[in-house]
């Protein structure tokens, strides 16, 4: 097996009295594409957000390339967390582009501020990644002048420009009009082909089946089942997985 990029051990996360994650163990290896599926409220987004420490674990550890987010005394030092986050790119459902910056400025900002690159260097990198996501023509547009699909591609370019080793996608296509989903999936698929380590939360089952090396089915804060896409989608072992997959693939059928 290639080297582990993310190691999650006994991860618990509670919001108040609600325990959202109830002991998650997960290892993601280099170049692996892990897709997390599950009903809403299953904790899949929370798990993803724990992977780059946007949510602090209530207990348990998350390691990135062997380094834990918490320091030796178990505390979450902000500088340490921020430094580790630069190794992980994240793409959000709501794009979260910076509205006062043009597309290229969005992609340049963190390179200059965090990576301490010069403006020219940052610009070069930004151009490279905006071209990669097919937006060379739209570099000087503001977010509100772009379509949803274009915004999401800028967001992907912005994450890639930090040259992370891992990419996280949190329902990256859920807020898009159906006709714009394809252009974003295409970019993600290209990244997959290039061997980027990725963890995706998605409702696009066909896409999950196609790009995923491993599918993780979550429900009620635990990993119910995981395995190869062909196994999970065609021969799920657990009843809950069966029900869920049946429901998403045939939404018109009655609930059992």
């Amino acid at each position: 097996m290639s080297k582990p990029m993310i190691e999650v051990a006994q991860l618990h996360k509670s919001f108040g009295v609600h325990e959202i994650l109830k002991g998650i163990d997960l290892t993601v290896h280099q170049g692996e594409i892990v897709v997390i599926i599950g009903p809403s409220g299953s904790g899949k987004s929370t798990l993803l957000r724990c992977l780059n420490c946007l949510e602090l674990p209530s207990s348990g550890t998350v390691k990135v390339e062997g380094t834990s987010f918490s320091d030796e005394s178990g505390r979450y030092n902000e500088k340490r967390v921020a430094r580790l986050r630069t190794e992980i790119g994240m793409v959000f459902q709501g794009f979260n582009l910076f509205p006062m910056m043009t597309a290229i400025q969005n992609v340049m900002a963190a390179q200059i501020k965090i990576r301490k690159k010069s403006a020219e260097e940052a610009k070069k990198t930004a151009e490279k990644y905006l071209t990669k996501v097919g937006l060379a023509e739209r570099m000087n547009h503001y977010p509100n002048q772009l379509s949803g699909g274009q915004k999401q591609r800028v967001a992907i370019a912005r994450a890639l420009a930090m040259e992370p080793n891992i990419m996280l996608f949190d329902e990256a296509t859920s807020a898009l009009d159906p006709e714009l989903v394809g252009e974003v999936l295409k970019v993600i698929r290209e990244l997959a082909d290039e061997g980027m380590t990725m963890v995706l939360v998605t409702h696009e089952m066909r896409f999950a089946e196609e790009v995923g090396d491993r599918i993780i089915f979550m429900d009620k804060g635990v990993i119910v089942e995981e395995g190869k896409p062909s196994d999970i989608f065609n021969a799920p072992k657990h009843q809950r997985t069966k029900l869920f997959i049946n429901q998403v693939l045939h939404p018109e059928s009655e609930k059992v």
Binding site: L54, I114, P143
Partner: protein, 235 residues
């Protein structure tokens, strides 16, 4: 009706306008200084009120209540007449015989700046809170610390949003500089008072003064309205 026959706007206008011109320069100086101070204070107070430290938040709330619970005129008078005395008293412990003097215009700038800074801080705070949490999260995910995300992503958006409201406060401040007459700043009102009491052209003098303020503030309101439109484009 006798008064009406003796109205002499021509003379009043001729003699008073150069005075008003001089006074206007001082009023603008006070506004510029006062507003700059207010803007800086407002952002600092707003950020302080959103900080995790209970002590900082507590101190700021007390200051805000004092400033908002007392009239601006009283604050100006306090700043000019009382604050220097208090400072002198404290410093006299170390340097006997020390007398601290505050220039009236500077006292005015400080008074206006602190007062407006407190009111504006509420505007800035509301704007900061109105910025989508996703903005901070996106910045954090890129490796920003909370502080960096606040200052380089959230606050630029918040202040941008607040600019039209700032504009309205700026116009209010220009008008409020007339209060500086009470702490001997030789601005428009004080000069008009002096002129009116010398010449007894009371109606003429104060009418001209009121019109002068109108001429000043009406175009500025238009500018603010324009700004509001311009800034709403990329939000």
């Amino acid at each position: 009706m006798d008064i009406l026959n003796h109205l002499d706007f021509a003379t009043a206008f001729r003699e008073l306008s150069p005075e008003l011109g001089q006074g206007l320069l001082i009023a603008l100086e006070a506004t510029l200084g006062g507003f700059l101070l207010a803007v800086i204070l407002s952002v600092l107070i707003a950020v302080g009120r959103l900080s995790n430290s209970k002590i900082i938040r507590g101190i700021l709330v007390v200051i805000l209540e004092i400033v908002r619970g007392t009239p601006l005129l009283v604050q100006l008078v306090y700043m000019f007449y009382v604050a220097p005395l208090l400072i002198s008293l404290v410093v006299q412990f170390m340097i006997p015989g020390y007398q601290f003097q505050l220039n009236p215009l500077l006292a005015g700038i400080l008074g206006l700046g602190i007062n407006y800074g407190c009111y504006l801080s509420e505007v800035v705070r509301a704007s900061i809170l109105s910025i989508d949490k996703g903005q901070t999260e996106a910045a954090l995910a890129l490796g920003y610390t909370h502080r960096q995300a606040l200052w380089s992503i959230v606050i630029p958006q918040a202040t941008r949003q607040a600019i039209p409201v700032f504009g309205n406060y700026l116009i209010m401040m220009i008008k409020d500089t007339s209060l500086l007459a009470f702490i001997t700043v030789n601005e428009l009102l004080l000069r008009t008072q002096a002129y009116a009491s010398q010449t007894f052209l009371t109606i003429e003098s104060y009418t001209i003064l009121a019109i002068a303020y109108l001429i000043l503030s009406l175009p500025l309101s238009q500018v603010v309205r324009l700004l509001e439109k311009r800034l709403s484009t990329h939000v």
